[in-house]
């Protein structure tokens, strides 16, 4: 006798198997070959004409004009097209903040001054509408950073694709974010537009404040070193999660980003980093050109804030921000360009474009948004160039990656072809059809 329950069971299990198979298929990374394209490898191989790139298992497995095409590979005809490594945006709050004006949508800024134990990783919203938009012009990875306080927490390096943050994370902890104490007068929001005031603190007060904070920061690092020793000598030493998080920084094992913008702030931050024997990178760097000799001598890299900005001082040259990359490059300072505003990450290629317009060479400009940031973030073995063994993060375009009118044809992240559809293309299609 047929048991209806049993039959349902069979039907169900059949469906489950089918779904599992489909899921596996969807999850499996197909083999792709882009052929006959101009490939900008950003590696010593340079730019290859009529070359192919083979992707398999999420990695680049072949680059060149005579590569083996695996059977069953999906072929992308690249004639007349350009292939670049996916761009790396080395500073942003992608996934942490949706609408800056609405506080409840902002998870980037936690309360408190010293928060080394916080992980941006934990607050990333994989379904944020910013993520698909961020990648439309070829950005494939993004550093997302916590903000606020003196030690803001740990950044995360994300691939801009994935069902969960675990799938997205290239580095779960990609570096500690420290807002290095400043000797500058803090500028309040809205100052100058009739809302709010600039700080009226005297320089003596600011200096005192700076000295106190720098001392506190040193003490935190010192405590972390003592803590590490104590834990090693005496495993029963109670866990302190804040110090625990700070240990790799204090021991110079993991990178720390020291935010500093003006020449004297940068100089102070570099001095601090050297004194504390940190592995550090300067973030901000608005006046890094004025201390380029120090940065070069100490081999300190800089993650620049957006350069498509107004000069700060009234007597600065009108193009002071645009020429910064050129000046750093000619001084031999390592740097990365960024488009830090979450909603503007897609404009990263134009940061490089502007830098080139104001004197940076095309190769250096490209590098500053690909291999440059990958090196500074310590992931040049995985990202930033088109080389065998690296993550298959590729952009296929119909022209110069840095030009505004260029269209992205295909985008690959970890060997998956990623949709270029966004909230914005959906709204566009919808209202284009409105009678």
């Amino acid at each position: 006798m047929a048991d209806p329950t049993r039959r349902t069971y069979f039907v169900h299990s059949g469906m489950i198997i089918l779904i599992m198979a489909l899921t596996l298929l969807a999850g499996a990374k197909p083999v792709y070959v882009i052929r006959n394209a101009r490939v900008h490898t950003l590696s010593p191989a340079g730019t290859l004409e009529r070359a192919s790139v083979v992707m398999e298992g999420g990695k680049i497995v072949g680059v060149g004009s005579s590569v083996r095409v695996p059977p069953g590979a999906r072929i992308i005809e690249g004639k007349g097209l350009e292939v670049y490594p996916g761009m790396v945006n080395a500073w942003s709050n992608v996934g942490l903040a949706e609408i800056p004006a609405v506080e409840v949508t902002n998870d980037a800024a936690e309360q408190g001054q010293y928060k080394p134990q916080l992980l941006a990783f934990s607050a990333i919203h994989p379904e944020s509408e910013h993520i698909p938009v961020a990648r439309v012009n070829g950005v494939t990875s993004c550093l997302s950073v916590p903000e606020g306080g003196i030690i803001a927490g740990q950044s995360v390096l994300l691939h801009l694709d994935g069902w969960t943050v675990d799938e997205m994370a290239v580095l779960k902890s990609a570096g500690m974010v420290m807002n290095f104490p400043s000797l500058e007068r803090p500028r309040e929001r809205y100052a100058g537009a009739g809302f709010g005031r600039t700080s009226r603190k005297t320089f003596a007060e600011i200096k005192r404040n700076y000295e106190n904070q720098a001392k506190e920061l040193s003490e935190w690092l010192e405590k972390a070193r003592h803590y590490a020793k104590a834990r090693q000598a005496q495993p029963a030493t109670p866990v302190d999660r804040q110090l625990e998080a700070l240990v790799p920084v204090a021991e110079g094992k993991s990178v720390v980003f020291l935010t500093a913008d003006t020449a004297r702030d940068i100089r102070n931050a570099v001095e601090f980093g050297k004194k504390e024997k940190l592995r550090f990178v300067i973030h901000g760097g608005r006046e890094a050109n004025q201390v380029a000799d120090v940065l070069k001598k100490m081999d300190v890299a800089v993650i620049l804030d957006s350069i498509v900005e107004l000069p700060v001082r009234e007597d600065d040259p009108y193009d002071a921000r645009f020429t910064l990359p050129r000046e750093l490059a000619s001084a031999g300072v390592r740097f990365a360009l960024t488009s830090p505003d979450s909603s503007e990450v897609r404009n990263l290629p134009y940061e490089a474009g502007f830098a080139q317009a104001y004197g940076l060479s095309h190769d250096q400009a490209l590098r500053a948004v690909t291999l440059g940031p990958a090196e500074i973030l310590g992931v040049a073995d995985r990202l930033g160039s088109i080389e065998v063994g690296k993550s298959a993060d590729l952009v296929v375009t119909d022209g110069d990656l840095l030009e505004i009118r260029t269209q992205v044809k295909n985008l690959f992240i970890s060997g998956r072809e990623v949709s270029l559809e966004t909230k914005q293309t959906r709204l566009y299609q919808k209202y284009l059809m409105r009678p």
Binding site: S92, A97, E98, I99, P100, A101, V102, A108, E129, H130, V133, V145, E147, R185, R187, R189, Y190, A191, G192, A193, G194, F195, F203, A204, I206, K207, S306, V308, E309, L310, V312, R313, E314, D315, Y318, D319, P340, D341, S342, S343, E344, R346, N347, Y350, F354, Q356, A357, L402, E403, I404, R405, T406, Q407, Q424, T425, L427, Y428, Y431, L432, R434
Partner: protein, 474 residues
């Protein structure tokens, strides 16, 4: 990390402000030859296509001839522009330029009695910076803190001239309105309105009063014209006057708006009161109501790709300008910020990428269309004989990310020259160094313990020692 879009950042560097201003101003436009010829350039006329290797003759500040070959009068200043691109000066239809200390009078919901013209700051360094970005004309408007702001001003970026010298003579006056989150935002004080309902109410009430005011004056003028010598004039009201001018069609309403529904609301109010909304400013959701905007005849003045910085900007799409253009709406790109204004040509290029506008359509977004929006297209906005010689010479095609303005002309005079800028900045750096050195010497001197008998102790005979000052000053 969030760009502060709603404000202008100004660093005041004390002494150096004056220095900067004087330094550049002394080298501002030289009253040049009455005839100028720009030779052998790729000319993007914006009105009638591109001339591959053409020249422009300028006489007395106006474009006189445009073509493959033009007359070169004796004594004309000839600018060799081979391998260069010339386009009309960029017109920014919405900025807050040259408004040091102004922008918002947000204490009342209706401040139509205020005027930008009253506080134009011709020393605002952003004028020079925008000029260097190819902007030649800008409409500098009040902010969006209240439903009805004040009257704006259209200026040319004639860096070095005084406030009056910047004004675009004969430009039609405007009045700023604002809808949505900004006017209902409770910033520093509680004031009505606090919702979109209230915003409409405030505007409707103001126009109701303005209509009565206008009718009172019409009646008075009619009776005076009829020879009535006993009639008393109505009391003048400076708040209602600009609104009455809007009702009469003499003043252009510029309406800050983001959401589609609030733009529809404003058009309903305008229809009821019998005026036309000249333009919706920012208009991020204009693409949702292209039909209604086209029917009303309102211009949509938007950003290329800003979005998500507030809720009402969450549905913004970079295809806005292209979609609206295709559906017959006049579109311009505005800056709203001195930073954005410096690359409006590149913002226009984004509208080719997103939505596929042609080169000429894209260039019009920042030239001819804003000129039409501001009703100054008989004077500026394209390269045509008879128009003002407001021109930008670029080293690359202006829709390229690599384009940098080399020279900017207003009324046929060179107001920005990249070569001259290099000379000026060198001189300013030297001047700065000298001033800083002088300042340091003065401070060092002050730090010296004074001995009785020092000359400057005469003023204060009791002083024997002055305690040293802080090591660094700011």
């Amino acid at each position: 990390m969030v760009k502060r879009r709603y404000m202008r950042i100004k660093a005041v560097a004390g002494l150096t402000v004056l220095m900067a201003v004087c330094g550049v101003r002394a080298d501002a436009a030289e009253p040049g030859a009455s005839a100028v010829v720009i030779k052998d350039a790729t000319i993007l006329t914006v009105s009638h296509g591109t001339i591959a290797r053409g020249s422009i003759l300028i006489r007395d500040g106006k474009i006189s001839e445009v073509g493959q070959a033009v007359d070169v009068p004796d004594g004309a200043l000839v600018i060799d522009a081979a391998a260069r691109f010339v386009m009309p000066g960029i017109i920014d239809p919405h900025s807050h330029l040259a408004q040091n200390g102004g922008v918002n009078e947000g204490s009342l919901a209706v401040t139509s009695m205020t005027s930008v013209e009253d506080f134009i700051d011709p020393t605002d360094i952003d004028i020079y910076r925008e000029l260097a970005g190819g902007v030649t004309t800008t409409a500098t408007l009040h902010g969006s803190a209240n439903p009805i702001g004040g009257t704006g001003a259209v200026i040319k970026l004639r860096w070095g001239q005084d406030a009056k010298g910047l004004l675009f003579a004969g430009a039609r006056p405007g009045l700023k309105f604002a809808l949505g989150e900004n006017p209902k935002h409770k910033r520093t004080q509680e004031r009505y309105p606090g919702t979109r309902m209230g915003v409409e109410d405030v505007i409707r009430q103001a126009f109701t009063e303005a209509r009565i005011y206008m009718q009172d004056w019409d009646e008075y003028n009619k009776r005076v014209a009829a020879g009535d010598k006993t009639v008393m004039p109505p009391r003048r009201n400076l708040t209602l006057e600009p609104l009455a001018q809007v009702l009469r069609g003499e003043r252009l309403p510029f309406v800050h708006a983001y959401r589609a529904d609030e733009m529809l609301m404003m058009m309903r109010v305008a229809d009821e009161f019998g005026f036309k909304v000249n333009s919706f400013e920012h208009a991020l959701e204009a693409y949702k109501i292209a039909n209604e905007l086209a029917a009303h005849g309102a211009v949509a003045s938007t950003f290329s790709d800003w979005w998500a910085y507030k809720v009402e900007a969450y549905d913004a799409i970079p295809y806005n300008a292209a979609l609206l253009t295709r559906k017959g709406v006049m579109v311009s790109i505005n800056s709203d910020s001195a930073e954005e204004a410096r690359h409006l040509n590149q913002e226009a290029a984004k509208c080719m990428k997103y939505g596929g506008l042609t080169e000429e359509e894209a260039l019009r977004l920042v030239t001819l269309n804003p000129a039409r929006q501001l009703k100054i297209d008989d004077r500026v906005g394209s390269i045509d004989p008879g128009k003002d010689a407001d021109l930008v010479i670029y080293n690359h095609h202006p829709l390229s990310v690599y384009a940098v303005p080399q020279k900017v002309l207003i009324d046929g005079q060179v107001y920005f020259d990249i070569q001259k800028d290099l000379v000026i900045r060198k001189r300013m750096a030297e001047e700065r160094k000298t001033l800083e050195e002088k300042d340091r010497q003065t401070r060092d001197k002050e730090r010296q313990p004074r001995k009785p008998g020092d000359r400057d102790t005469v003023k204060d005979k009791n002083a024997t020692e002055v305690p040293p000052q802080g090591k660094e000053g700011e």
